[in-house]
């Protein structure tokens, strides 16, 4: 690329290779344009998250100043702690992690693996039609079953508990059954046969042969199921209506309503941005550490975030 100015400065060469020179210039221009566009897009895309993180560090005067403060100075690092305790987010975090995300993720994986094994590795009559029904349920919008399930779970006394999320996860999830089944089928049948000759039963084969070979697919299930439950808003909105049982997503919303009604000297925005940052952070960190799993999960099955 650096050779371009030289080419321009020697007229003899320009005359000799006019098309070559213009081609180089064009290439250089294309690259410059590409990088400029990418930089602009990158800045635009990252800006909201940058704004969320930096607003967490401001005090009220910095929030309401015009022109806007791009880099907080001074930075109030204790905003994170203050915001967290102000609305008792410890409890919400506990609910999100231990009552919702972890059990639902774990049980979904377990049940989906067993079902996927039945669809992939055992030959039996009626397998294909049932598998097609299973795939078809992926297209069933959750909103259609939402009301009758609510009525049923309410009769069970499951309002303000996480049973409406945990119990269905014991019965497998069509997306992950599909994903795992595809993966299981790629594992050579000879391995299972060898284990059978050694006296292993089907559960043994699933546990000792198939599971260790399916780590990439299992990682996709764990990641996406965790992500969905961590981010879920509508589900808890319907089933959880006491503050003590709220997960983080609902707690943020509750905080918004309270904080924004308190006016411009209540640290409403910095605190709101601080908790939003803290709740988004685990997902961003998981993504950074498990980037390949995420990308593979999406590009092979179209799983949505």
């Amino acid at each position: 690329m650096t050779s371009i100015p030289q080419t321009v400065s020697t007229p003899a060469q320009v005359v000799q290779h006019p098309s070559h020179r213009s081609q180089l210039l064009l290439n250089w221009l294309t690259r410059a344009a590409t990088y400029t566009l990418l930089a602009l897009l990158g800045v635009t895309w990252i800006f909201p998250l940058y704004w969320m993180a930096t607003s967490s560090l401001k005090d009220d005067p910095q929030i309401y100043t015009v022109p806007p403060v791009l880099i907080p100075d001074p930075a109030f690092w204790n905003n994170f702690g203050d915001a967290w305790t102000r609305f008792d987010f410890n409890l919400a975090a506990f609910n999100s992690v231990f009552l919702y995300s972890l059990p639902v993720t774990f049980f979904t994986l377990l049940s989906s693996m067993v079902v996927a094994y039945g669809f992939a590795k055992i030959v039996w009559r009626g397998r294909e039609p049932l598998f097609w029904i299973c795939i078809a349920t992926m297209m069933l919008p959750w909103q259609v079953t939402m009301v009758p399930l609510f009525i049923t779970f309410k009769q069970f006394g499951w309002i303000n508990t996480y049973w409406p999320f945990v119990v269905p996860s014991l019965f497998g999830n069509a997306y992950f059954i599909f994903l795992l089944r595809q993966f299981f089928r790629s594992i050579p049948e000879e391995l299972s046969d060898a284990a059978r000759i050694d006296g292993a039963d089907e559960f043994g084969i699933l546990w000792r042969i198939v599971l260790p070979l399916s780590k990439p697919a299992i990682a996709v299930v764990l990641l996406f199921r965790f992500l969905w439950s961590w981010n879920d808003y509508l589900g808890p909105l319907i089933y959880i209506n006491t503050e003590a049982m709220q997960p983080l997503a609902l707690a943020i919303y509750r905080m918004r309503t309270l904080a924004l009604s308190m006016g411009t000297t209540s640290m409403a925005y910095p605190h709101l941005m601080a908790v939003s940052t803290l709740v988004a952070l685990p997902i961003i960190l998981i993504f950074i550490f498990a980037q390949r799993t995420f990308i593979e999960g999406i590009s092979t099955t179209g799983l949505k975030g």
Binding site: T34, L38, L41, G42, W45, P48, W51, M52, S55, Y64, T65, V66, P67, P68, S111, V114, V115, G118, F119, I122, W124, R127, I133, C134, T137, M139, P141, W142, Q143, V144, T145, V147, P148, L149, F150, I151, T152, L170, F171, E202, W230, N231, L234, I238, L248, I252, R256, L272, M273, V279, A280, I283, I284, F287, Q291, I295, I298, S299, G302, K304
Partner: protein, 305 residues
């Protein structure tokens, strides 16, 4: 004749065992399907033909809920218009932007993984968090965009507080969160054989011609897939409009599922909400059928790799 009969009759010992085992392994899913999909689906259809408010017994009223929605309901067509506006402008715009970004990322650049992460992360961060930061960024008094406009002495823009701008503002955020589509497009672009581009180059096709005659045709399957999946999921968007605008101002962002939620869990009009759920189900079913019918085409194309 006798040659046919043995096939129909009893299975061998292993086959019988496999039949039982297969059904045992998939039984969690089958049970879940009956309990959490089929039963609520049928129940929802029943409720959609009743007058029900969670308290008194449901009263059967036939198709009245449907005819009321289509003819006399004051909000249904507003909600439908809002949703179609959001889907109709948001999805094509999202696809176009995502495809262009994917093409930029697929060109010969440094730092592709970094840029891909920057574009993708917004789509996995909890929607409540992104809603909070957009609420802040787009705020007419304290938002950073209007802060910049004020600094420049330009009139401020009431992004979320004017009925005309609220929908376009939500579409803007929708497009920003299309990272999943970008990742799927990028994977598809990386599968386009280099030889096709080389052949086009030999034929003297410039970058523009290569884009339209190689890239786009090779990606039609994925374009179609993302397009239909985009329509299906945009129809069901809830968290962003609910948290950002709560359906306002003046019902301009009262989208389908927001309205459905309100009818069911705020107004307790279970019959009406169930009818809405079934209409949504039929709309999504229509697009799912389109997706499957077109799948023959995109699987054929995708088979190139």
């Amino acid at each position: 004749m006798t040659a046919i009969t043995p096939r129909v009759q009893r299975m061998t010992k292993t086959e019988k065992r496999n039949q039982l085992l297969g059904m045992l392994f998939i039984s969690p899913w089958l049970l879940g399907f009956l309990l959490f999909a089929l039963f609520p689906l049928v129940a929802s259809l029943y409720y959609s033909m009743t007058n029900y408010d969670f308290i008194r017994q449901p009263q059967f009223i036939g198709l009245t809920n449907y005819t009321r929605l289509f003819t006399v309901d004051p909000d249904f067509w507003t909600v439908m218009y809002n949703t179609l506006y959001y889907v109709g402008f948001g999805v094509p715009l999202g696809i176009a932007v995502a495809f262009l970004i994917a093409n930029l990322l697929n060109s010969n650049i440094q730092g592709r993984t970094f840029f891909r992460s920057v574009i993708y992360i917004p789509s996995i961060v909890p929607a409540v968090c992104t809603a909070m930061v957009w609420l802040f960024i787009l705020n007419v008094q304290y938002g950073v965009i209007n802060g910049v406009l004020k600094t420049l002495g330009v009139p401020t823009i009431p992004f979320l507080s004017s009925p005309e701008l609220a929908k376009p503002s939500l579409i803007l955020i929708y497009v920003w969160a299309q990272g999943t589509a970008v990742v799927i497009f990028l994977a598809a672009l990386q599968d386009v054989p280099r030889s096709l581009y080389d052949a086009a180059l030999v034929d003297g096709a410039n970058a523009w011609a290569r884009f339209w005659n190689v890239t786009v045709p090779m990606c039609t399957p994925v374009l179609l897939f993302n397009f239909i999946m985009g329509i299906i999921s945009a129809f069901q968007d809830f968290t962003l409009p609910f948290v950002l605008t709560g359906g306002g101002p003046m019902k301009s962002t009262e989208f389908y599922v927001v309205s459905l939620y309100r009818n069911a869990f705020v107004q307790f009009s279970i019959g009406k909400a169930s009818a809405m759920a079934w209409i949504l189900f039929l709309i999504i079913l229509l697009f799912s059928v389109l997706l499957f019918r077109s799948s023959a085409r995109w699987i054929y194309y995708g088979g190139e790799k």
